[in-house]
Every structure is written in structure tokens, then in C-alpha cells.
Amino acid sequence: MDSQVGTMTSTSTPVWHYRTPKQALLRWLGWFSLVALTVFSWQLMNENTIWAFVSDAPDQAADIGERMFPPAWGYTGQLWEPLWDTINIATLGTLLGVLFAVPVAFLAASNTTPSTRFVRPLALLIIVASRSINSLIWALLLVAIIGPGLLAGIIAIGLRSIGFVAKLLYEAIEEIDTSQVEAVRATGASGAQVIDYAIVPQILPAFWGISVFRWDINIRESTILGLVGAGGLGIQLNASLATLAWNQVAMIFVVILFTVVVSEWVSAKVRQAVI
């Protein structure tokens, strides 16, 4: 640290260094290990790659692309119902997730949790557990437990959303302006009233932004849940892939693309409206 401070000697001008020698060395070591890791990973990848397959990749891709085109427009009629299912899975799943995420967020935020020692770690554990497991894996588990269908998809989306929404929301709660909280508390407000009057107004834009963003992500995720039997477009996709009906696969892609574009548009509009 000393070397960061300019030293004045009788002969030379003061010297200032942006980084101490130790910091500079650590940065250099960091970059060096990144390069070393890249070289190592490259070697690892080459070991398990059969280059014969890779070499004809352009031909294969062109072949599949040719079979995909033109998309099976007539197939669309069979897609409306699974598409409706997909949107329902995403919407109901998001609602379910948000419903549980809100209390979890308040228990996890260090400024609203009733106990930093017991409740907060528990809430953080719920968040980590929910976030660390992908929706598809939740769906796999749930299809095994409650059987295939929409319900498994909805709960899978919900469970995955709890962690995402709760994490972003508790960060928003921790960043609120404390002077507003102090002012409301000074009026003699109870804990519930402080949340209602001082905290909720401050986090409401974040809440809507996060919820709509998650719904937007969930639309995309629920298109593949059918691959494991949890309902929606994925079932159709699975069937078309299994029968090598590439033009149907292409049609499904078109429908997914269209849905995602619409959901992004909706979420952008909602976020504009609330902020």
C-alpha cells in the first residue's frame, strides 16, 4: 500500500502508481492462468472429438437444412393447442413462482429478515436450491412424481422461478433508500405498515420488471418441457424429431420464434409502463 502513496525525496518528483507491484503481479498471474486454462481445455476437447464427423459437418447441416425447407405450413393447425398449453404453463408457473418468491425475498433481504442467523440462511438456501436446478430437470422429477401433463410443467416452471425472482427482488429490497423507511417508522408505523408504505413503493417497479422478465424466460423454457413429457410444444417437437420430420421441426421453430418475439414485446411494454 505504501508504494501507492507518492514519496517525496529531495531529488525526484513524487511518484504515483496505479497498482502496487503485488496487485500487478496478481493480475499478471490471473491472465496467465486464463491462457493456460484455454490451452488445456483445447487439448481436452480434441481428445474426445472424432474429427471425421466434424469434417462433414457442413454437408450434414446443409442436408438437414434442405429437409427443413420449406416448413410444413399445414402442420400449424396441430400446433395451436400445444402452443396454448405452453403459454399457460409459462404464465401459471410464473404466478406460482412469484407467489412464493415474494415472502422468500423479504425473509432473505438483510434489512427485512426477522433473523439474520436462522431465517435468512434458510431463505437463501431455498433460493440457491431453486436456482441450481434447471426447469427441465425439475420437470423430469415432477413427471416421475405426479405423472406427465401440464401440471408437472407448471410446477417445474414455478419451482425454478422462485429462486430467480426472489434473488433479484431481495437485492432490490436491500438497495432501498433507508431515509424513507426511517421517516415512516418515525410516524409510529408498525412493521407491516413500514413494509406497505416505505418498502413496497420503492421496490414495485423492480417487482414488475423482474416478474415480466421471468415470464418472458418461462415462455422459452416451457417450449422444451414437453421433451420430458411435461406438456406443451415440446411434445410435438419430440414426436417430429423422432420421426425425422424436419419440415415439421422447422414449423415448430417458426412458432416458437413468433411466440418469443411477442412475449419480449409484451415484457418490454410492461417494463416501460411501470418504471
Binding site: A183, V184, A186, T187, G188, S190, Q193, D196, P201, P205
Partner: protein, 271 residues
């Protein structure tokens, strides 16, 4: 009446913010609390309504000691003490009316405040207070749409909506221009006189303090080093509170600026 008895505060870091502060504020008296930054002014007024926990001593408001109160009893004590803040501390995304009505939070049950179903008396009172501070046209605006001076007026209305027995004011003019500062100080002063309300006002500006308060208390390093009439605030006293400075020069500038000051009180001016 407010009485502080040997009030002390030592923070967990070991810093002593207040040591054995004792004084009384009779009804209707407006006290200016002056002192250098870090003297403990903010801590002092926050110890009174227990936004900061005092380490020792008593705070006696109308006969009851506030320091020992917990839970609902503390809430009932807080609702009797109005507080006005430096950066207004309004809830920015709520309307002016909601901010003023939040002064009733200590009186109404949570379900009522949640549904915003305040009694007609509370609403009438809020309207009349907004009228008094000159903001009756703005009741439906969001607080963040107002200017600094307007926000502080809402802050005053919120504090008065509590029907307080004491007003705590933390640097009310620190973020305001000189003219607005005077209007705000005048407004607080007249509100206190009308209601015979005692007030403690933390203030950096010595000249404002002298002009708008009945009594000055000087705080230095957590101790009361001056307590007397505003007129008694001589250069020696200022040096005792703040340290050496050319005080006559500050006063000289004051006199030229003060000549044109009109004595009339118009609460709604400049809105």
C-alpha cells in the same frame, strides 16, 4: 414539555456521540440545535424518538419516559412526535396525499392504511394542512414530481398530520436555496406557535437559527457547550462551539442581506 436527563449515546464502534446531555424544552418553545458536523445533533434528535437507541439517560415527554418503551408502547410514543428531515424523506413514489396521510399510520390499523381507507377527519385534516402549506392543488401529484421546497412543505404537513406534542426537525433547510430556507423556517415557526408546540431544530446556518428560534443550544463533541437566547450568541460563544473563525465578517454579510427582509408571514408564498 420535553425533558432530557443525562442522555448519552455510545455507538458500537466506541464513538461517543452524546455524553450526559440534559435540558428541558417547555411547550411552545422553538429550540435551535447548532454545532459542527459530527457534534451529535442528528443522534440527539433520533435518540428522542428512538430511531437511535440511547445508551443511558432519560427522555421524558409529557411525564413518561420514552427510553424504556417497547413494541406498541413505543409506536404510541412515536406518533406523538412529528419529524421533519433534511432530504425531505418523502416516499417518492406515493402521492402527496398518501405521504401526508402516512402521518396517521401510528393511529390506524394496518388493514385501513393498506386499503388507504382513512377516516373523513384524517382526510379533512390532511387537506387543511396542505392548504396551510400552500399545496392544496398538488394533493394528487406524486412526491417525486415536486420541487425541493414543495417536498419539504409536504414533510411539514406529514409531521403535523400526526397531531404531535413535539416536533423534531433535522436540517430542514440544508438542501434548499436561501429564500426557500427562510420560508420553510417561518412555516415551522408559525406552526409551532399556533399549536403551542415545542420543537428542536438541527441547523447548520447560525443566522437562520438566530432569526427563527427562541433559544439556541450549542453542541460540541456530544456535550452542551451553550444554552441561551439567540442574542447571547456572541463571537466568543461561536468560537467555543465551532472553533476559531472570523465571525464578524459572517455577521457583516448578514446585515446587508437582512435589510430588505419583510416581516410579514405568508405561508403560501413562492409556491
Amino acid at each position: 414539555m420535553l425533558e432530557l436527563n443525562q442522555l448519552s449515546k455510545t455507538y458500537a464502534t466506541g464513538d461517543t456521540a452524546l455524553s450526559q446531555v440534559s435540558f428541558e424544552v417547555p411547550a411552545g418553545q422553538v429550540v435551535g440545535l447548532i454545532g459542527p458536523s459530527g457534534a451529535g445533533k442528528s443522534t440527539l434528535i433520533r435518540c428522542i424518538n428512538r430511531l437511535v437507541e440511547p445508551s443511558a439517560g432519560k427522555v421524558i415527554l409529557s411525564g413518561s419516559n420514552l427510553v424504556t418503551l417497547r413494541g406498541n408502547a413505543l409506536r404510541r410514543a412515536r406518533r406523538r412526535i412529528g419529524m421533519i428531515f433534511q432530504e425531505y424523506a418523502l416516499v417518492e413514489r406515493l402521492t402527496v396525499m398518501e405521504n401526508v396521510l402516512s402521518g396517521r399510520l401510528g393511529y390506524v390499523p394496518a388493514w385501513r392504511s393498506f386499503l388507504r381507507r382513512y377516516s373523513p377527519e384524517d382526510v379533512t385534516k390532511a387537506f387543511s394542512l396542505l392548504d396551510q402549506v400552500g399545496l392544496s392543488d398538488h394533493f394528487n401529484k406524486r412526491a417525486d414530481a415536486l420541487s425541493g421546497g414543495q417536498r419539504q412543505r409536504v414533510g411539514i404537513a406529514r409531521a403535523l398530520e400526526q397531531d404531535p406534542e413535539l416536533l423534531l426537525v433535522d436540517e430542514p433547510t440544508a438542501s434548499l436555496d436561501p429564500k426557500t430556507s427562510r420560508q420553510i423556517m417561518r412555516l415551522i415557526g408559525s406552526a409551532c406557535r399556533e399549536r403551542n408546540l415545542p420543537a428542536i431544530i438541527n441547523i447548520h446556518d447560525v443566522l437562520l437559527a438566530q432569526q427563527f428560534t427562541d433559544r439556541i443550544i450549542g453542541l460540541k463533541a456530544g456535550e452542551v457547550v451553550f444554552d441561551g437566547k439567540p442574542e447571547a450568541l456572541t463571537d466568543q460563544v461561536l468560537t467555543r462551539i465551532y472553533g476559531d473563525e472570523d465571525w464578524t465578517r459572517m455577521r457583516g454579510e448578514e446585515n446587508t442581506g437582512e435589510a430588505s427582509e419583510a416581516p410579514t408571514v405568508d405561508l403560501a408564498e413562492g409556491v
